[in-house]
């Protein structure tokens, strides 16, 4: 208790107000209108209302209720220079079992929509770099949703790691069973490291980023995507309000996430430079809270925080379903679930990279900026 309190004062990057904790749940297949490559067959999409609203950038204060101002406690991942291994928020073994379970589902393809979408966007960012990468690594790539969207001209050889052995088996690339928290590669090995939707389950994020930095060659690039920010705030708030009203208190059901504002610092501390961080808000529409939870489970994204409560009382579930619908429901009867996907790009420093100009080398004064910005009448067409 004392420790977490201290951390929050330090401004640890994943401290959440008490509101923001939840449980993992999950599952149902919504459609992405935008993308038609979803498996057309067995998806249970029939009666489901769906659609995505993809918006760049964040919502302004989306918070649902006023408990938000409460004192902070609960899981904090500390950023700071605390060294590795000090943070232990998530039960990695549980995460592995969840992933194995979801990989063993017969209809597992229908839960891939989010990973596919995010994977393609990560691949987009790889294409933005006009280079061929001889050797790339996908951290926590599972079934390799990124590689599906890449071509051989861009990435010549790919290594894939995942914590769950079952998700790995289908891929024709070189697969390595490895925990993202302990990368078993030599320093300066890869030209490109990618990661899609797996970093948000890592206990020691600063340490993991440092390891990624290590295995990269100089001038190598890391392109990653993870869930963060206000992800699943609808579910988090509904469950909290339901538990408060039914049971007189609430417990974490949705895991803590990294805030986008901290991501830049984290990357910088890990040694990356020329950073790019941006947020995509992906909103998926589901028929109801049950489908949200079942789908998350099918994705292997159930909560695995140590402090999660394994029980969700059935009264609470009923209450949460009513609150979710009333508070966030759309007019057509569907309910939205928001995923804030944080994208990050960072480069391992190399002397060939652009550097800040020398101090005093400017030829213009900032004082003259106002003159520059005013176009003269002759410039106008």
């Amino acid at each position: 208790r004392l420790k977490t309190h201290r951390l929050s004062q330090l401004g640890c990057h994943t401290c959440f107000p008490r509101m923001q904790q939840c449980r993992d749940v999950s599952v149902s297949p919504p459609l992405f209108n935008k993308k038609s490559e979803l498996p057309s067959g067995e998806t249970a999409m029939n009666s489901r209302l769906s659609g995505t609203v993809l918006q760049r950038l964040t919502r302004s204060g989306s918070a649902c209720c006023r408990h938000q101002a409460g004192p902070r406690f609960g899981p904090c991942r500390g950023l700071t220079e605390s060294g590795r291994g000090t943070m232990n928020v998530f039960n990695r073994d549980m995460k592995k079992r969840q992933k194995n379970w979801s990989a063993s589902l017969q209809d597992r393809d229908q839960y891939d929509y989010l990973r596919d979408e995010v994977g393609s966007r990560v691949a987009d960012r790889v294409y933005d770099i006009a280079r061929t990468f001889p050797l790339a690594l996908d951290v926590g790539g599972g079934k390799s949703h990124i590689a599906e969207h890449l071509s051989k001209d861009v990435v010549e050889r790919l290594f894939l790691t995942d914590i769950s052995e079952k998700t790995l088996t289908e891929i024709p690339t070189s697969c390595v069973l490895a925990d993202e928290e302990f990368l078993p590669f030599k320093e300066n090995t890869f030209d490109l490291v990618m990661s899609s939707l797996s970093l948000h389950w890592i206990n020691d994020l600063p340490g993991a980023l440092r390891q990624i930095h290590q295995v990269l060659k100089p001038d190598g690039v890391f392109i990653g995507a993870m869930a963060g920010g206000e992800t699943l705030y609808e579910l988090r708030c509904s469950l909290q309000m339901a538990e408060t009203e039914r049971e007189g208190g609430f417990s974490p059901h949705v895991s803590p996430y990294t805030a986008v504002t901290d991501l830049g610092n984290l990357l910088g501390q890990a040694g990356f430079n020329m950073l790019t961080v941006d947020v995509d808000e992906v909103q998926v529409h589901y028929p109801g809270i049950m489908e949200v939870m079942m789908d998350l489970q099918g994705m292997g994204e159930s909560n695995c925080a140590w402090n999660r409560r394994s029980l969700l009382h059935r009264d609470t579930l009923l209450a949460a379903a009513a609150i979710y619908k009333e508070m966030y429901g759309n007019e057509d009867g569907s309910v939205p679930a928001t995923f804030d996907i944080l994208y990050m790009i960072g480069w391992k420093p190399h002397e060939s990279q652009a550097k800040p100009a020398q101090r005093g080398s400017a030829t213009m004064s900032f004082g003259d900026l106002s003159k520059i910005s005013q176009p003269t009448s002759t410039d106008r067409p």
Binding site: S104, E245, M294, L318, I323, E326
Partner: protein
């Protein structure tokens, strides 16, 4: 996977949840309104604040589930 067991039976029940829940839309809306009202007004949310609305919702839900089971 394995045959029917406690786990798959309870899972089966959960699968029926949306359908049964849909039959109590009115009660659910009443309860939802009661709870979400606390996010706007001065009223603090506390235990059993909306117990009346919840009981109505639960009765409706249980009856609907029973009917479905028959």
């Amino acid at each position: 996977m394995s045959g029917p067991n406690v786990w798959s039976r309870s899972r089966e029940k959960l699968r029926q949840f949306p359908e049964v829940f849909a039959q109590c839309a009115g009660e659910a809306a009443a309860y939802g309104k009661c709870v979400t009202a606390t996010t706007k007004g001065r009223q603090e949310l506390h235990k059993d604040l909306c117990v009346k609305e919840f009981e109505a919702l639960k009765t409706c839900f249980t009856n609907a589930a029973k009917k479905r089971a028959k």
